[in-house]
Amino acid sequence: MTGFNKRELLKAGVAGLAAGELFFGLSPLANGSITALAQSPKRGGAVRAVVHPEPSSLMLGLVQNTPTQMVAGSIYESLLKYGHDLKPIPSLAERWEISEDGKAYTFHLKRNVKWHDGKPFTADDVVFSTDVFLRELHPRWRPVATTHVERIEKLDDFTVRYQLKNPFGPFILMFELSTTPIVPRHLYAGTDYKTNPNNNTPIGTGPFKLAEWTRGSHIKLTRNPDYHVQGLPNLDEIYWQIIPDAAARVVAYETGAVDILTGGTVENFDVAKLAKMKNTAVTGKGWEMIAPLSWLWFNHRQGLMAKKSFRQAVMYGMDRDFAKDVIWNGLARLASGPVSSKTRFYSDKVAAYGFDPAKAKALLKESGYKGEPIRLLALPYGEAWTRWAEAVKQNLTDIGMNIQLVTTDVAGYGQRLSDWDFDLAFTWLSQFGDPALGVARTYVSSNIAKGSPWNNVAGYSNPEVDRLFAEAAAANGEAARQELYTKVQQILVEDLPVAWMLELEFPTIYRSNFNNLIKTATGMNDAFQDAWKA
């Protein structure tokens, strides 16, 4: 149980009922805003949130980095949103049907939707976005569209059908905002998308419009009075403030300069301190779609790493509880295998690896290790990651390994990983809700290729694993997919192609007089549609 969950017990009963969801962390009630929970939503007010780093662009069709998603998530929309359980809920599509053979997805669009420039939104925009614009430019949509989609057709002005070549289980998860943001056809068709001047003044259908972007300072969004959901949004303005230094972000929250610290913007040790402040709530929700999972890569091309006994020695030699409790301050959970417990088709029916230095030493001896230097590539994402790499180095040194810590910046890290220039390397990757989208890419042998740090950089190859992942992606029906994914998780955990570490939590810290903030699996990316300030 994580630190969050312990605190959750203190307030689950009342806060969960009152807010309509179960918050992790301190509840609004626990910190004194009882009246807010009893009130109905209020119109008006502004919210000041921190975004870091500054988005490079707000054109979500072109740029999908996390800061862009957070800010542009209030400007653009997709056909669907997803609840914390990853079940689809309406957004630009008011309803949808999936054919029995799992090959046709039909979406019925809302009829009263307007772009921010007043033009009507229709099926033409959806077809243009997904069949032309994103098919050309989007790194996650393009492979799916090319491999699985036979055709995208407009049935009428408000109905669109996706006809697949074969059933593809996770297809319903592809209509999330960052994967298929719908862009205005009337502004982009026939233009050079990359240099279109509208990229700097994004036009979407979302609840807020871009009002001002002072680079290096802040981004201001204002309420869209013509939003297609009657009466929403409640807030008048959103200010996204750009504060590059983590310690300064903490002081900004403490002094009341900002209302929301988005996930990952403060050090773990500051989360506990801020959670004790009055009028403050903390939630770990809103990361179910991403479900960050961390692990250590083994480079299977190095002789030792190809031996299972060596990989097991590393796994038994690491004190993951220490990492969870001390380095991540309890904001994590031990990973049991390749699939996060938040992701669909997770199974806990797998072998378990505890911290057992004696067993690790024996396995190390069995592997034939003779003290050769092992390079451990740290992840350059901040203090916690640096400390974690040092802790792992200490653990592995204690069982007799000669570990050399390699540190670099983000670009250098990516280069080393894509060139396979490492022995052990830290990473964390997104799961995207389904093993076919965010898990298989790490283990299937067709994904072994130099030049990218997000494929099977370990060089692990197992024909049975390849077959199971392929069958599970194409299987029609949840039960069939669960069976296949359970089997592949068991094989992988036994084989240990990588050393799974922790499921990470990036909590959002906010003033508890803000309500309805985190309501979906994508958290802060679409937090303000019906948020209100008491």
């Binding site: 502004a46 490079s56 072109l62 300072s217 802040h218 303005e237 002081v251």
Partner: protein, 325 residues
């Protein structure tokens, strides 16, 4: 040497240095490990081969190094600093947008540090060995040795968190909608802490330098003569010692002024000040080559320009230098 010849010689030298710096910057950056396309793809959470190739084409990284260098130099010659595909905007626009905030911060810090540093240096030199001298020198040493980012954080905790006197981040109050004099005051209010923090470091440097220089000057015969003529100590300091002792400070101030455009990476980062230092830092992490080269080029040009101005200033402060030339 005539003044015109002097200027011509300086300008030609500056042009050669600028081209050499531009070439050096270009190749040094390419030596650093890391592919900008991968950084961008990483931020998007994925990147297949097609996407990486698209990004390389956007950055012009699919072209040969020689071709990239030629395009870069050609652009420089027409004062085109390139296009940041990451930010989707011309580099010159990005620099000009950040310039006012940076100049305001670094210019204010320069004024604070020059005024305070020279004054404290003179005071310390006139009270050598006494308590006030020790206090000034100890204070200078402390602020000189203290890491800027740490000083900035401590200042925020004291003046923002505990005392609540000053805002800890930003250039102006978000959403306040101030205009005119009210806005100017608001910006000034936000400026106090970052400018003072940055200024304290240079104040310490100038104070120590001015003190040493004053002590050295005080031993010269013309100072003794001035006293012998019956001038008051204040008049000797003002008219004979300070004008001669200030030359090393002018040299250092010239170097500091050359860096004004580059901003202060640490202070801008901790105080969330929207200046060029942060533009540079972000571009470095993201391997945004065009922005990096553009900022480097602008900073180099400014350092060279201010060096020339410092040389000219010498002639103004001490006419003997022109006579020697």
């Amino acid at each position: 040497m005539t003044f015109a010849l002097f200027l011509l010689r300086k300008a030609l030298g500056a042009a050669v240095i600028l081209i050499a710096i531009a070439a050096l910057n270009f190749f040094l950056l390419r030596l650093a490990p890391g592919d900008p396309a991968q950084v961008m793809a990483g931020e998007a959470g994925a990147g297949d081969a097609v996407f990486l190739q698209q990004l390389r084409e956007r950055f012009g990284l699919d072209r040969s190094l020689a071709e990239q260098f030629w395009l870069y130099i050609k652009g420089m010659l027409s004062l085109d600093l390139g296009f940041s595909y990451r930010q989707q905007r011309p580099v010159l626009d990005l620099i000009l947008e950040r310039l006012p905030a940076t100049l305001l911060l670094t210019g204010t810090a320069l004024i604070i540090s020059l005024a305070a540093g020279v004054t404290l240096g003179v005071v310390a030199a006139r009270r050598v060995g006494r308590a006030s001298d020790s206090a000034i020198m100890t204070g200078s040493l402390v602020f000189y040795a203290m890491p800027l980012f740490w000083l900035a954080i401590i200042a925020q905790i004291v003046f923002s968190k505990y005392l609540g006197w000053l805002p800890n981040v930003g250039y102006e109050s978000m959403g306040a909608g101030y205009t005119g004099a009210r806005r100017t005051l608001d910006i000034g209010w936000h400026l106090i802490m970052p400018a003072t923090t940055l200024g304290l470091f240079f104040t310490a440097v100038y104070a120590r330098m001015m003190r040493s220089s004053m002590i050295e000057v005080s031993r010269f015969d013309y100072v003794k003569t001035a006293y012998a003529k019956g001038l008051t100590p204040g008049a000797v300091v003002r008219h004979h010692m300070v004008p001669n002792a200030i030359l090393p400070v002018v040299t250092l101030a010239g170097l500091q002024a050359g860096q004004l455009v580059g901003g202060s990476l640490l202070v801008e980062t901790v105080f969330a000040w929207p200046g060029i230092g942060r533009l540079l830092f972000d571009a470095l992490l993201q391997r945004d080559y065009q922005v990096l080269l553009g900022v480097f080029f602008t900073c180099s040009a400014m350092v060279i320009l201010f060096n020339i101005l410092t040389d000219l200033m010498y002639r103004f402060v001490d006419p003997r230098i022109e006579a020697v030339s």
